[in-house]
């Protein structure tokens, strides 16, 4: 199989549609530039976004280039276990909103770092900012590279110029439009993505003779026997129970802590609207995920029929290969537009996430007396700067950075989720617990990963590279340390701890919507100790060699 198999013949069709969609994104950005008057507009779209648009924007931010390319390839290589990994990713926004998104909205914060600052103070906030910037930059570099690869691989254009040009073009429209432009563009991109994945998929399934083609996300049962003939072990679970537990510990707990997703919720027009985003999000993401699995199935069936060996290189482009084989070329060009939409929408969320942390949570704290005009200028500089820095890193990325976004999820689960979620639901978690818990468990996660000290590793192969085996140790440590250090401080630094607890009681009760402070709500230590005890067996199981 050569590049001729997955590149469209008429490159002008591909370039034409690319220019058309980017023209649209720039137009939307420029319209919204005029509506951006202050930092709240720039970072949080003026808290004006309705639930339907916000759900589309959150969905496209969540779904990256991987949806069209990488996932389909990995289904064909890793089979059912990968589908299980992917299924639970839908839980990110629902759990986020329920566990802390609504409370952060009520507080009026700009980001999760802003929340950490109010809840725990400056030092912990800078630590949180450090972790979040690392996670978001890793993610962003991966997407920039993905987009450049789309131009290189699908349109046959040279890689480095594609990377530079696409990074500058994307940075341009995101900077111009701010969060308002990004939100409306992301919503448009989600519609493009859905049409680009699901409609051609129906046509492909119909051409394959699949009876249920008109329900593309579910109607491909006809392909099962062919699939099993080609790969008899496709539907086997393959891994031990611990692997499936680690999906919860590393991925579910991690993705609910992602700062760029939290920020999406904070752009809502009101708190009830923020909650309504959740079911809409589940609808869009659910449909798209189902479509991706179907595309994976169709890919295996197609290659079996052709009698072709599926190289890893080709597996990545299955979606394009199928479209080129079964659909007219203009459809494939539209699918390319869908792939690009997936990538730029994710980049938009990340870029604004990074810029808000830098511009609002770091510079804003170090220079608190800036005028609104200065804040806005710094904000635009932060946005543009983020794009440029990511581009520079993407030109020659350390292998570590591109290896695995799943690894970054595990880091989030370890260093971010405990302090944020516990900070919302308990007044007994204090700055010392949060700081020590996040710092030590995060450091442990990094140290035990295969990318740092090759000999000091837990597990091996896939489970280590993706951070699963490490998470089974570091996430429990994160929760346990945060809880125990907080409670221990109450005993050993009584005065300071009491002041912190009193402050926390006012903040926490307020963020849940209570008008009066009883100092009894969210104040029990019992459930914290039970939670710590529940994490202990997970930690012990994680220590058993894989």
């Amino acid at each position: 199989m050569t590049s001729a198999d997955w590149q469209i013949q008429n490159i002008w069709l591909g370039l034409g549609i690319t220019l058309a969609v980017f023209g649209l994104y720039y137009a939307v950005a420029m319209i919204n530039n005029k509506k951006t008057a202050n930092a709240t507009d720039l970072y949080l779209a003026g808290r004006s976004i309705g639930p339907l648009v916000n759900s589309l924007a959150a969905s496209s931010t969540w779904m990256s280039v991987a949806t069209f390319l990488g996932v389909v390839a990995l289904i064909q290589q890793l089979h059912l276990p990968f589908v299980y990994m992917w299924i639970q990713l839908i839980l990110s926004v629902p759990l986020l909103v329920m566990l802390y998104g609504a409370s952060l909205y009520r507080m009026g914060v700009f980001t999760s770092v802003h929340f950490v600052q109010l809840r725990y103070g400056r030092n912990t906030a800078f630590l949180a900012a450090g972790w979040m910037l690392l996670i978001m930059l890793m993610y962003m570099v991966g997407q920039f590279i993905g987009i450049a690869k789309v131009f290189e691989v699908l349109l046959g254009l040279p890689y480095t110029p594609s990377l530079i040009l696409s990074a500058l073009v994307i940075t341009g429209y995101i900077t111009i439009g701010g969060m308002k432009g990004a939100t409306y563009n992301d919503a448009i991109q989600m519609v493009i993505m859905m049409i680009a994945l699901l409609v051609p998929l129906a046509a492909i399934l119909k051409a394959m003779g699949v009876a249920g083609y008109w329900v593309p996300p579910l109607g491909y049962g006809d392909l099962t026997d062919a699939l099993l003939e080609q790969i008899p072990t496709f539907f086997d679970l393959k891994f031990e129970a611990r692997f499936y537990l680690s999906l919860f510990v590393a991925l579910t707990i991690g993705t609910l802590g992602l700062p760029q997703l939290a920020q999406r919720v904070l752009t809502s027009e009101n708190i009830k609207s923020a909650r309504v985003v959740v079911p809409w999000f589940c609808l869009w993401v659910g449909l798209m995920f189902l479509g991706t699995y179907a595309m994976g199935f169709a890919g295996v069936y197609h290659f079996a029929m052709m009698g072709q060996e599926l190289t890893p290189e080709a597996a990545d482009k299955t979606t394009l290969l199928l479209n080129l084989a079964y659909n007219p070329e203009w459809v494939s060009a539209f699918v390319i537009a869908g792939v690009l939409a997936a990538g730029v929408s994710t980049i938009a969320g990340l870029m604004i996430g990074v810029a808000t942390v830098v511009g609002h949570d770091i510079v804003g704290v170090l220079r608190p007396h800036m005028s609104e005009k200065q804040q806005l200028r710094y904000g635009y500089m932060a946005l543009a700067g983020t794009g440029v820095v990511s581009l520079l890193v993407s030109l020659d990325p350390p292998a570590f950075l591109i290896t695995s976004i799943f690894w970054a999820f595990g880091l989030c689960a370890t260093a971010i989720t405990p302090m944020v979620v516990l900070g919302v639901w308990s007044t007994r978690i204090n700055p010392w617990g949060a700081f020590v818990g996040s710092l030590l468990s995060g450091a442990l996660y990094i140290l035990l990963s295969p990318y740092v000290f090759a000999d000091l590793v837990v597990g091996s192969g896939l489970v280590a590279g993706l951070g699963f085996s490490t998470s089974l140790i570091s996430v429990p440590v994160g929760f346990i340390l945060t809880i125990l250090v907080s409670l221990a401080t109450e005993r050993f630094a009584r005065g300071k701890a009491e002041v912190a607890r009193s402050r926390a009681q006012e903040l926490v009760e307020g963020m849940h919507g209570w008008a009066t402070v009883t100092r009894q709500r969210y104040d029990s230590s019992q459930w914290l100790l039970i939670l710590a005890a529940l994490w202990a067996p997970v930690l012990l199981w994680g220590l058993v060699p894989w």
């Binding site: 589908v83 996300p217 499936y244 189902l290 704290v365």
Partner: protein
């Protein structure tokens, strides 16, 4: 205290529900699977996993959203009862004013 207990218990309950719907893998590993058991042509354990993880989660979200937004009203009602009137700026204590939106850097109540 009624709405508070409802809030805590429902959060735990809905949380467990979400996790169970999105994580059928553990059950399948423990109970075993059989590719010949089919639903709409697809192996049952596969179809159940992807359906629960999409439509199941969607339905659960709809239920949660309705419940949580109604609970918001119950909390408001308890606030009104506790403060002896509709919730206004005058009735709101330092708890909410400490958490009100602030300009960057000028973070209300932020510890140094």
């Amino acid at each position: 205290m009624k709405a508070y207990k409802k809030e805590v218990r429902s959060t735990i309950g809905f949380g467990i529900g979400y996790v169970l719907l999105g994580h059928t893998g553990l059950w399948v590993v423990m109970l075993g699977s059989d590719n010949s058991v089919r639903l709409f042509g697809l192996p049952a354990h596969y179809l159940v996993a992807i359906l629960l993880g999409s439509f199941g989660v969607l339905v659960w979200s709809v239920i949660w959203c309705i419940f949580a937004n109604r609970l918001e009203d119950e909390i408001e009602a308890e606030n009104a009862a506790a403060t002896g009137g509709p919730r206004t700026d005058a009735n709101v204590t330092a708890s909410t004013s400490a958490a009100s939106p602030a300009a960057p850097g000028q973070l209300a109540g932020a510890a140094k």
